[in-house]
């Protein structure tokens, strides 16, 4: 039962009337010795499964990958598979397949130390019935400026065999276009030719959604999630202009792993008030067998996995969300000094501007000038997209 948020907010409410949050950087000495960080998963879906190993030393340094460790995953009463290091610190399975109801264990041998996880049983993840969305308005700290977006909901129903603890990983992908597709190159003297430029007019943006997303159905009579708020996507960016897709990976995790995430969420999730529990060291299910006094960070997770992908077409969302943002165009108009006009255009082209079209002030007459686009408005790769169509994508 987390009651902290309301309390902290009441405190603000009554007297703060300000978000009095300031930066504070205490001197925290580096730990004397580095700790091994292990992040491994096995699911009941086909692999390969990945285990990454690194070393953590301090708060502000990136963990260094650990190379050359012997990593294996063992099925209780079954095979043991040795993992291959595919990248520095990244180890991958080749053939082992996780099965619901079976127990698995991770073992690591590194620098004459043996590490081992406890046995973890895969419990199936419940069936995702549907994922749907509604237009929603979220308030912001600016009282006059609410944010509009789509609230995604999830319904799922599970059997009593299925895990009652859920962790979600979400990945969003959306298709984008460009404001001004380029057809011609400007040659000079109001002459144009079919463009030779290789610009991308259709791209996809893709993003892992950050944040620890867990829930559980313990305390309910049935293992059912209904109207469960899974994600709020704002329309501030160009998400809903072409087509949007949300992939939900639902992991059925163990109670132990759920408690671990709950604790990590509490201690890494920001605002901490006086009605919070003390942050405490999170215990991994992996231990150093050679030297039990040395803690290991991370987790070897065995979980059932179900997934669901949904698509959102622009006509399914309110117009204010699907409205295309149009880049402004630059223009150069003819004057009496034709030479200056021409120089002006070529200067702009040299700066990276792109010819988009002529402008005509008299119908049927000569062009009165040109309008120019920029690369970011005419090439979606420049706008952060990828021209590679994702494998799963279908329009």
């Amino acid at each position: 039962m987390r009651l902290s948020k309301p309390y902290v907010m009441v405190m603000f409410a009554f007297f703060g009337l300000c978000g009095c949050i300031e930066s504070f950087n205490p001197k925290i000495p580096e730990s004397d010795n580095s700790l091994l960080v292990v992040d491994g998963t096995i699911t009941d879906q086909p692999g390969p499964y990945i285990v990454t190993i690194s070393k953590g030393i301090s708060l502000n340094e990136k963990n260094t990958p650990v190379s050359g460790a012997q990593v294996s995953i063992e099925e209780d009463g079954g095979i043991i598979e040795l993992l291959q290091e595919t990248r520095e610190g990244v180890y991958q399975t080749a053939s082992i397949q996780g099965l619901a109801g079976k127990r698995y264990r991770l073992s690591i041998y590194y620098q004459e130390q043996n590490y081992q996880s406890s046995w973890e049983t895969i419990r199936p993840s419940s069936e995702i019935d549907s994922v749907y969305f509604k237009k929603a308005i979220k308030g912001t700290t600016d009282i006059n400026n609410d944010v509009i977006g789509l609230q995604f909901y999830l319904d799922s129903h599970g059997t009593n065999e299925d895990s009652r603890y859920y962790r979600f990983e979400l990945e969003e992908t959306w298709k984008i276009g460009v404001s001004w597709p380029i057809s011609y190159d400007y040659i000079g003297n109001d002459l144009i030719a079919n463009t030779t430029k290789n610009l991308n007019y259709v791209c996809w943006k893709s993003r892992q959604i950050a944040g620890i997303n867990i829930t559980s159905t313990t305390g309910l009579k049935q293992n059912i999630l209904s109207n469960h708020k899974i994600h709020f996507a704002t329309g501030l960016e160009d998400r809903f202009t072409e087509k949007y897709s949300l992939l939900i990976k639902q992991f059925g995790i163990s109670e132990k792993e759920y408690l671990l995430w709950e604790k990590l969420n509490r201690t890494s999730g920001g605002l901490v008030g006086l009605f919070e529990k003390q942050p405490a060291s999170v215990k991994s299910n992996i231990s150093n067998i050679s030297d039990p006094s040395r803690p290991v960070l991370g987790y070897f997770s065995a979980s059932g996995l179900t997934t669901k992908r949904i698509y959102v077409d622009p006509d399914q969302v309110p117009a204010e969300l699907s409205k295309q943002y149009k880049c402004p165009l630059d223009s150069v108009l003819k004057s009496n000094d034709i030479g200056a006009y021409s120089r002006n255009i070529f200067n702009k082209l040299r700066e990276g501007k792109l010819f988009y079209d002529f402008v005509y002030l008299d119908i049927g007459g000569d062009p009165s000038g040109v309008v120019l686009s920029t690369l970011i408005c005419s090439d979606c790769v420049e706008n952060g997209g990828s021209a590679q169509k994702p494998e799963f994508w279908h329009d």
Binding site: F15, S23, S268, V282
Partner: protein, 908 residues
């Protein structure tokens, strides 16, 4: 001056005084005309009915003399001396005037500071009654050497009993302090005595008595707030003389002058200014005394425990200052009649209503409004007082920038009432009740509510001058609920309730001079509904979870004796035997030996039916205090306290919250036990103007409750699997300098205090910081407080307070790592680091309205500024992942100075 003198001669005085006190008439005349009166304060209470139609000074004086037989002497055109019954001829003038100032027989009302080096000396502002009161039967005067006087001390205007007033004679000092009914008992040698009667905010009084035998001496004191003279407190039984170490009395009259947040005078926040009292943070609920947890304080309102003492999660205490008389805080030297909590006793006393006439008072601040009505039911015999307080704070939420809060609502209200009835001189009955309600609705789908409901019936009976008793029956109740209806499928109601029913009988026995006994018994039945979660609405899928009721019976027998062995040495010895029976219904679990207690290691379950004894604990508790007085201005004291506690708040959050639950000891969760050794040196300077003390203590706490990391304490059926047995150790030194009299008053304190905890388990899972000592959440080694008040004149005073303390301990992360794509933090040692130090300054200006006594409405304004220096004190510190970097932030509740205006009125 000659011009003024000329003007003076032709001064014409008008005025109309219907049944006014002499003192008030004089004050009014002095206000309006350039006149100065000198008179013996015992004339103050002479009632005069007079019409002055426009007379010269001499004509007016003659008129008063005619009406009252009070004679006057004009020293010059400004100064007038009231000579009382004696008519003094003019030629004695100068000599008389001289004698008067030297020997201090008469009073110059505008003298302010007692400049007497004779401790407990009569100073110029005291009222001296020269009439000798005869007590006892003169024919029996040779029967015994000593006699017992009983009586009460009351406010002359309101008839309210004055609690904590001291009545004493000096040389040698023998005295008593009035109890919660305003009564005292005093054993004195026969003969002539000069008794000094004193209480904060009241005008001191000196009475001559001739003691022949046992008898009654009732005393009425005049409030200094009404007559509006400077508060001059000199001579009372002070820290040099009383027996306790670690004791403080907080008087509500002083508390109103201290700046407070939102303009709410708050007795709990004032307690925090005393050395040895800490809290975990600004506006945190609860307080910590000498390294003890906040559930280890016995906080009582009119002798009934209050289970959650804060409104709005910590901003205000549940005590309405309008109806409170005073509060006593015992940090050590705790009498055997108190028990049940191991750190301190905070005893808040309720006022009795005015038993002479109806009076209404109230106050308005930006956050709260309150009104108090009091008056006689039967004049001089029975009275009532009712106080109601409520917030109208929702408007503050609606203008906030937090979108969730704009749709939220937060309110509180409380009701306090007391009726008392004097059956006869030997029997007094009183009944008081308290109810509070807090409501917080978050985002319009979660509703949090909590309630306190208390009531007590008390009977004071005087058997004889040597024996009296106070008996009481009380009930206390605390409950909270949380309703969540955001999603119909997961809507639920969560409820918790604790009730206690208590019977107490306490006798006070005064067998002879300089010794008294207190003895009695108490018994409390606890009934808890420790938690239930039920589905809300027909479509809810929430499974009902109801914990079985918990019952317990805590009983105690106690006896204590205070003996003044000689002039210098006094000792208190007390013994309390407490017995706790944990009663059914309920299951108890036995666990596999040599393994941590977990659900998996339960080997056997035993069921106990209702009110069957599950487990019994005995706790012999010894209390001792001794005082040795080297000189009249220097004493040393030592004390030992052992306390047992059978009921505990389960809270693994940094501060306790209203949703934390009280639970009873069971067969596994042992009673908490505290042993405290303390000592102190006490000294007064410049008469009694300055009081200084140094107190030290060492405290051990056994069976402290700590929690496993994942402990979920709400709806937890098998508590012992989530708690860890721990020990506490705390020690400290407290310095205090107090100035009680004069224009400038207040105190300055510094304390050095440590508070450490150690877990006791041999299993690594049940250890915190590997079983080593670590600082508790409220371990703040250095703290410093200044509380000061300066009175410019009768109407304006200024308070300036400063607070400093070391930042509270905190746990900071050591390593950042990525797990399943999420950056997370690894924390190591608990409470290894500290948040930044705390410093705050508050200022208040209190302005009393016009003091015309015949005015019906008295108004006063208070302007206060909280956090004057706009320092953003850290409330908490937290860490956030920002891309590659971990950023530390501190959160402050107050960043700016918070000004408030409060209006307070009284209708008489």
């Amino acid at each position: 001056m000659p011009i003024e003198l000329e003007a003076q001669k032709h001064m014409t005085i008008t005025g109309s005084y219907r049944d006014q006190y002499f003192g008030n008439i004089i004050a009014d005349l002095e206000d309006r005309y350039n006149l100065q009166f000198y008179y013996d304060p015992h004339l103050d209470s002479t009632v005069i009915d007079i019409e002055i139609p426009g007379l010269s000074v001499s004509e007016m004086l003659s008129l008063i003399t005619k009406k009252t037989k009070i004679n006057f002497l004009r020293k010059d055109s400004i100064s007038i001396i009231a000579t009382g019954r004696y008519k003094i001829e003019k030629y004695l003038d100068d000599e008389f005037f001289g004698i008067k100032t030297n020997k201090q027989v008469f009073t110059n009302k505008h003298d302010t500071v007692a400049d007497s080096h004779d401790d407990f000396g009569i100073n110029p502002s005291m009222g001296v009654e020269r009439d000798v009161v005869e007590i006892g039967d003169i024919t029996k005067r040779y029967e015994r050497d000593v006699a017992t006087i009983v009586g009460y001390v009351r406010d002359i205007l309101t008839g309210e009993p004055i609690i904590g007033a001291s009545i004493f004679k000096k040389n040698p000092l023998v005295g008593a302090i009035t109890d919660q009914f305003g009564y005292y008992t005093l054993v004195l040698p026969r003969g002539r005595h000069e008794m000094i009667i004193n209480s904060t905010g009241m005008k001191p009084l000196v009475k001559q008595i001739d003691l022949f035998g046992d008898g009654i001496l009732n005393i009425e004191l005049r409030s200094d707030l009404i007559s509006l003279k400077e508060v001059v407190v000199s001579g009372e039984i002070n820290s040099i003389d009383n027996l306790q170490t670690g004791f403080a009395n907080l008087n509500i009259k002083n508390i109103r002058e201290i700046p407070s947040i939102g303009g709410e005078a708050d007795i709990l926040k004032i307690a925090l200014t005393l050395p040895g009292v800490q809290s975990v943070g600004e506006a945190a609920s609860g307080f910590n005394v000498r390294g003890g947890g906040s559930d280890q304080n016995l906080i009582m309102l009119d002798d009934v425990p209050v289970y959650y003492t804060n409104h709005l999660f910590g901003f205000f205490s549940v005590f309405n200052s309008e109806v409170i008389a005073d509060a006593d805080l015992y940090k050590s030297g705790i009498g055997a009649h108190f028990g049940g909590r191991i750190s301190s006793v905070f005893d808040v006393g309720l006022r009795e209503g005015n038993n002479k006439k109806i009076s209404i008072s109230g106050g308005i601040s930006p956050i709260t409004g309150k009104i108090t009505i009091e008056g006689p039911i039967k004049k001089n015999t029975s009275s009532y007082i009712v106080g109601i307080r409520s917030t109208y704070s929702d408007w503050m939420l609606s203008v906030l920038d937090n979108p969730q809060l704009r749709k939220s609502s937060a309110k509180f209200s409380d009701f306090t009432g007391k009726v008392n009835h004097k059956i006869n001189d030997k029997n007094i009955l009183s009944f008081s009740g308290y109810h509070s309600r807090d409501l917080f609705k978050l985002n319009s789908d979660s509703l949090y509510q909590y309630f306190n409901s208390n009531a007590i019936l008390k009977w004071r009976h005087i058997y004889s001058n040597r024996l009296n008793s106070v008996s009481s029956l009380s009930v206390a109740n605390y409950n909270y609920s949380l309703s969540s209806d955001g999603n119909p499928l997961t809507s639920f109601d969560l409820k918790y309730k604790i009730s206690d029913y208590s019977l107490k009988v306490k006798f006070n026995y005064f067998p002879r001079e300089r010794i008294n006994f207190t003895f009695g018994l108490s018994s409390t039945f606890y009934s808890l509904q420790p938690g239930s979660k039920t589905p809300l609405g027909s479509s809810s899928l929430v499974e009902s979870a109801v914990l079985s009721d918990e019952n317990g019976l805590e009983s105690a027998l106690f006896v204590g004796s205070e003996a003044h062995l000689n002039e210098k040495l006094s000792i208190y010895t007390g013994f309390r035997l407490s017995i706790f029976n944990r009663l059914g219904p309920g299951n108890t679990f036995s666990y596999m030996p040599n393994s941590p207690m977990e659900i998996e290691t339960v080997v056997d379950t035993t069921y106990f039916s209702a009110n069957e004894i599950i487990k019994t604990y005995f706790g012999p508790e010894i209390r001792f205090s001794g005082r040795y007085k080297f000189r009249s201005d220097l004493s040393v004291k030592a004390s030992f306290d052992r306390m047992n506690q059978y009921i505990h708040v389960l809270s693994n959050t940094i501060a306790i919250s209203p949703m934390d639950s009280w639970r009873l000891s069971n067969q596994v969760i042992k009673p908490q036990i505290g042993n405290q050794y303390s000592f102190g040196i006490y000294k007064t300077f410049l008469g009694t103007s300055f009081e200084m003390s140094i107190e030290g203590y060492y405290k051990r706490i056994f069976n402290l409750i700590e929690y496993k990391d994942d402990a979920d304490l709400i709806l937890n059926e098998v508590l012992e699997t989530d708690v860890i047995n721990a020990d506490g150790r705390s020690y400290g030194l407290e310095f205090l300098i107090k100035k009680k009299s004069g224009k400038l008053s207040g105190w300055l304190s510094y304390s050095y205090a440590r508070s450490l905890i150690r877990t006791n388990s041999k299993f690594p899972d049940e250890q915190i910081n590997a079983g080593k000592y670590y600082p508790s959440n409220y371990d703040k080694p250095h703290s410093f407080t200044l509380v000061s008040n300066y009175k410019f004149n009768r109407r304006i005073n200024i308070s300036l307070n400063c607070y400093y303390s070391t930042g509270r301990p905190a746990t900071f992360p050591a390593i950042k790592y990525i797990l399943k794509g999420q950056p997370v933090l690894y924390f190591t040692d608990r409470n290894k680091y500290r948040i930044p130090d705390y410093f705050r300054t508050d200022l208040a200006i209190n302005i009393d309205g016009n003091h015309k006594v015949h005015k019906k409405i008295h108004g006063s304004w208070s302007l206060s500024v909280y956090n004057l220096t706009s320092r953003a004190n850290a409330y908490s510190v937290f860490f956030v992942n920002e891309g590659e970097e971990i950023k530390g932030y501190k959160l402050s509740i107050f960043k700016n100075a918070i000004p408030t205006i409060t209006y307070h009125f009284q209708i008489r």
